[in-house]
Amino acid sequence: MSVKQIEKVMDAAKTAAAVLLSFAATILLICLVSSTPWQTVKDFFLGPFQTTRRIGNVIEMAIPICFTGCGICIMYSTGHINMGSSGYFYIGGLAASIVAYGLLLPSGLHPVVCILAGGLVAALIAAIPAVLFSAWGINEVVSSLMLNYIWVYLGTWILRTFMLDSAAGFNASKAFQETAKLSRIISGTRVHSGLILAVVVVLFSWLFLKKTKWGYQIRMMGMNSKFSVYSGMGVTGILLSSQMLGGFLAGIGGACEVLGMYTRFEWAAAPTTGFDGIMVAAIAYRNPALVPVAALFLAYVRVGADVISRTSDVPSEIVSIIQALIIMLVGAQMFLSGIRHKQIVKASVRQLAKEGK
């Protein structure tokens, strides 16, 4: 095996080991706190597959994460960390909602306009941290994270001032036009046609990042931005456009979520989907092709936790422990690095012997 192959295999092994270790920890925890450990463990692992409804739950939970996850893959490939996808997702949903109840359009066109509106507004606000960084060197991690609060409170103000339907009985917008809603595509579940768009987004992101000249520039900038500058690439433009594209994807994700799962805009806070995207992109090693796998996995453990919280005495918060363990272990540079280094040493020494040196 070449060094390159070893690195790939070890990345996969690291993820697998992280998953197994976190599962082991979960089982241990369940055994410690549950009075019916065996049944609880079984429910946790098999529960999500037991009914069509639960399988649907897994898929519908994974859909929005695919959008934010792919957006994160593109944004993070520049080497710049943008923590704002939670805000972009929220604003995308908000903007789509305004179009969804406020405009009268034919049924085929209406959701398209809603989704585009969500994506474009989100793209615009996603440009802000990149502009702040390019113009004044303001750290994007901090600015994008802080801006999340601004978007959510701005959104709440817009909702309460302009969108509120007093007949609804709670803080929610007027009901969406029927023409705007995304249709259910699997009966017995709430899986909506946003799934198709999610598949398209995953394919697009992968092609864009790996096969186009724009993706190439983004990746080179992420690996060595000085090299990009020296080669003649305009890094400011690349940064700006990649952040806007990432924001766009998160925004259309938010739009699909409100149009597929809700009848009114009623988010009082930003859903966790934005941060889920960061987690999923990390597990997928920033490869959009692996994002759906990671998103489905995350949705699976969440639905599993949901099942046991209803059927047993173990609370669903246990899922946070699994998430935390996986992310920590996948992210840990040194985890399994001893084995990796030994493999590389072996391969290199073998290679030397083969070359007869």
Binding site: S2, W214, M220, M223, F227, V229, G232, I344
Partner: protein, 520 residues
Amino acid sequence: MSENYILEMRGITKVYPNGFVANKDVNLAVREGEIHALVGENGAGKSTLMKVLFGVEGHEEGEILLHGEPVKITDPISAIDMGIGMVHQHFMLVPSLTVAENIVLGREPRKNGVLVNMEKAIQDTRAICEKYNLKVDPTARVRDLPVGQKQKVEILKALYRKAKVLILDEPTAVLTPQETAELFVELKRMKESGHTIIFISHKLNEVKELCDRVTVLRLGRTIGTADLAGLSEQEISRMMVGRDVILKIQKQPAKPGAEVLKVRDLNLNSADGRPILRDVSFSVRAGEILGVAGVEGNGQREMSEIITGLLPFARGEITISGQSIRGRSIRAIRDMGVSHISEDRMTYGVAASASVAENIISDRFQKAPYCKHGFLQTKQIGSLCKKLIAEFHIKCDDSSAPVKTLSGGNMQKVVAAREFSQDPKVSIVNQPTRGIDVGATEFVRNKIVDLRDQGTAVLLISADLNEILELSDSLIVMHGGEIAAYLPDSGKVTETELGEYMLGIRHQTPEEIRSACHEC
């Protein structure tokens, strides 16, 4: 052990995380009180071996013995505690602190057990300077010192930490011939006072002059250890290279054409107002190599960065075939036919984690036939890479191998393959063979001559005097941001003469320097 070795390294194997085997079963035995040379080409594993000894890098196999006892050196602190000191190739000093502060850093003399006793620190520094007759002003700030003085501070730092074994990693690489001579006197004095010195170099005349014994490394292995007394330079060189080669580049006399690159009255000040370039004017004609000699840090790097668009310039004018580059982006300047080998390969020259192919296309990925409708054309890129890998003898699994898995020499060939393959009008070649093995050096140098013969105007900047003298058709010497001399025929220049211009001891008249512009 019959012989009195102060230090032994046995069977050391070191593999870097990228899979590069830097040392394989290397042995080194150093006697007490000798100056032991460690020689080998660039990339032979000398620096790695010393990093292992100093605890900067770990090792996979082998053991280290100090006074015959096996020791574990886990980090530089334990190495220092065992009496090992190292002067790195790139100085590890705090520029904003004074000499005395740098020397005592981490081991400061205390006042009342808490406060730093600065007077004592200065006294100690003076005492140690006198003891070893190394003349440095303890109160000077390190950033104001010339390179030779900084090196003395590094040596003093090691001596202050009571080093008995002193490792010097290519100490003469940054020095002028005159400074080198001074260093040798000091090192011999240290040897007489009982210190053991490991001297890393690939300059054989220096090794012959200074050292007692030599260990030769080649491709990460020990070739052997010998007394220098009965050994000729040719014999050592054969051990180093494995064959009889002396780098002699075959080249025809240049046939210079029209002026291509013209630099007029270029000036640049640093952020704090210090002049970096002062009224630099010269021109390079098609089909000639103009060498730029000079101690590093005399404006050469900034000059090449200005010409290639990496740095903006305030005063002066630069034209390529009559067209000004002022206000143009790096890509626009590259599109005018300027190619650039950066002195800092890992920072600018390559994206180490990216593949060979991705590194080769970084200056043409957006152009046909490599890109159509925004999509990269894998086939066209593949055949380009195949051609260049063959033409430049790049040793790699295939073009998808990450560049970081290649040796330094092969990385530089990737850079050269990119920068030399688009028929550049002007090529700014900065330290083209720094840190690469002799085979790759020879190859890259020949490619530079080929490029010249195809009519490219080459500006060659190098700290390696041999390289400058070997390749250049004519040359300029830079000192303090100015051109100190223009020497139209590099064949008639001696190293001593160059050294004097580099140090600023000699300076040509403005008339002589003006002839560096051909069509003024």
